[in-house]
């Protein structure tokens, strides 16, 4: 089990705030949507604290 960030695309404002603080470069604002690369996400939760919208959450994954 590991913690990973997930994005609720219906809440996301595509602002890139989470990209600016991700220490693992796991988040990317691709053209106009947010992509989270699971293989890079370390589950630190920093992006969840940063998100102005509350669009990010940490989940347990296999």
């Amino acid at each position: 089990m590991a913690r990973k960030a997930i994005v609720d695309r219906r809440k996301c404002a595509y602002c890139g705030a989470c990209v600016a603080v991700c220490p693992a470069d796991a988040n990317e604002l691709v053209e106009t949507f947010l992509e989270i690369y699971d293989d890079r996400c370390t589950g630190c939760g920093i992006c969840v604290k940063m998100c102005p919208m509350g669009a990010l959450a940490m989940v347990e994954v296999e």
Partner: protein, 387 residues
């Protein structure tokens, strides 16, 4: 091969492209969004002086002119700053959607190529130049350039990959949310700032008029201190203040409050604007510094092409220029910001009470701090040499 590729068509990037193209360079300006200037991620305020330094003001991209600012302490103590001569506007609230396009168009007019809906996927420095991989509508291709200017915003891929900047920590960035509200009943001659840990921990809330009863109503909070999201703080602020209006637009974003970085360059690469954390750490204002930085980057790019020297040591001329212009202020205001975020609401009320009613004729952070230093020298002892 291009002389300069600029990534990001905000104020910093378009200004850099415009300046470099005006110097006769072969320039490409790339913007990943399909529309320049949107979403704005910005409160759109700028001082009159900062904009008039570079542009002939055109009413088309001015949403409102303001003559002063009102700052509110948590207990609603009011500090009013306004120019001595009534009617003499000291600041503008821009219509960035139009302004950003205007600057990009000027870059194009000067000869720069402009690609929108085009993302920079990757880049690599090799054999004294930079190879970039671009992508548009799913199609990828490569271009080469002597100089790469990263104006790709607070989330700068270029700055991080090139190792110029460090990722922001949660006490070095503001998490922001903003509504454009219509149907407001406000005095449109002022911008409004609301301070306090309860309202906006580590930041502030603002109302910047945009004409015809509309305004940017927004908030920035320091995630390190915040207990809920910026949007939740914004909604709470609007309810508490009893601000009545219709929300007609909504934006979010991050504003760097880092202070001065040591260098904004490496071999073949310069960063400008939010990508170089050029936003002011106390006000969060970023347009003025972005325009200046873009201008200097374009100038230095032209010198570098002329000398055929793209080394970091040559590009450090750009560091010198932006640091001499606003680097000291970034450093000073970072110290002030650290002091400010330590202040609880009781102290903010006390400080505001000490200077409320004073005639602050100059609309600047320095003017406030100077008054505060007169009123409470001991509380701000460590700032006395900075102002």
């Amino acid at each position: 091969m291009y002389d300069v590729v600029v990534v990001g068509a905000g104020p910093a990037g378009s200004m850099a492209a415009k300046t470099a193209a005006e110097q006769g360079l072969n320039v490409l300006l790339v913007e990943k969004r399909q529309e320049i200037g949107t979403p704005v991620r910005c409160a759109e305020g700028i001082s009159r002086e900062s904009i008039e330094k570079f542009f002939e003001v055109d009413k088309k991209w001015i949403a409102a002119e303001v003559t002063g600012a009102k700052i509110y302490a948590p207990d609603k103590t009011e500090i009013v700053m306004s120019e001595e001569m009534a009617g003499n506007e000291v600041g503008y609230v821009l219509e960035r959607k139009i302004f950003d396009r205007h600057v990009a168009r000027l870059a194009a007019k000067a000869g720069a190529e402009v690609y929108v809906k085009t993302a920079m996927v990757d880049f690599e420095r090799k054999d004294g130049k930079v190879k970039l991989k671009l992508r548009r509508l799913g199609e990828e291709w490569e271009v080469e350039t002597k100089i790469l200017i990263g104006a790709d915003g607070v989330e700068s891929k270029i700055g991080r990959k090139a190792g110029i900047i460090k990722t922001l920590k949660l006490n070095e960035v503001e998490s922001c949310a903003q509504y454009l509200m219509a149907g407001l009943d406000i005095d449109e001659n002022y911008t409004y700032f609301y301070l306090g840990r309860e309202i906006a921990p580590g930041g502030y809330a603002w109302i910047f008029p945009k004409g015809n009863g509309s305004a940017n109503v927004g908030i920035g909070v320091l995630p390190k201190m915040a207990e809920k999201t910026a949007k939740e703080y914004l909604d709470a602020f609007i309810e508490k203040e009893g601000i009545e209006g219709k929300i007609v637009e909504f934006v979010a974003g991050a504003v760097p409050v880092y202070g001065e970085i040591e260098t904004a360059v490496t071999d073949n690469i310069m960063l400008a604007g939010d990508a170089a954390y050029h936003a002011d750490p106390i006000t969060g204002g970023g347009i003025a510094n972005a325009l200046s930085a873009g201008y200097y980057a374009g100038k230095v790019a032209a010198e570098a092409v002329q000398k055929n020297d793209f080394s970091a040591s040559f590009l450090r001329r750009y560091d010198e220029l932006w640091k001499n212009d606003f680097g000291k202020k970034l450093k000073r205001n970072k110290k002030l910001q650290l002091k400010f975020i330590d202040m609880d609401d009781a102290l903010l009320n006390k400080l505001a009470g000490a200077i409320a009613g004073k005639n602050l004729r100059e609309m600047s952070v320095a003017a406030i701090v100077k008054e505060l230093l007169k009123a409470h020298p001991k509380l701000l002892w460590d700032l006395k040499d900075l102002f």
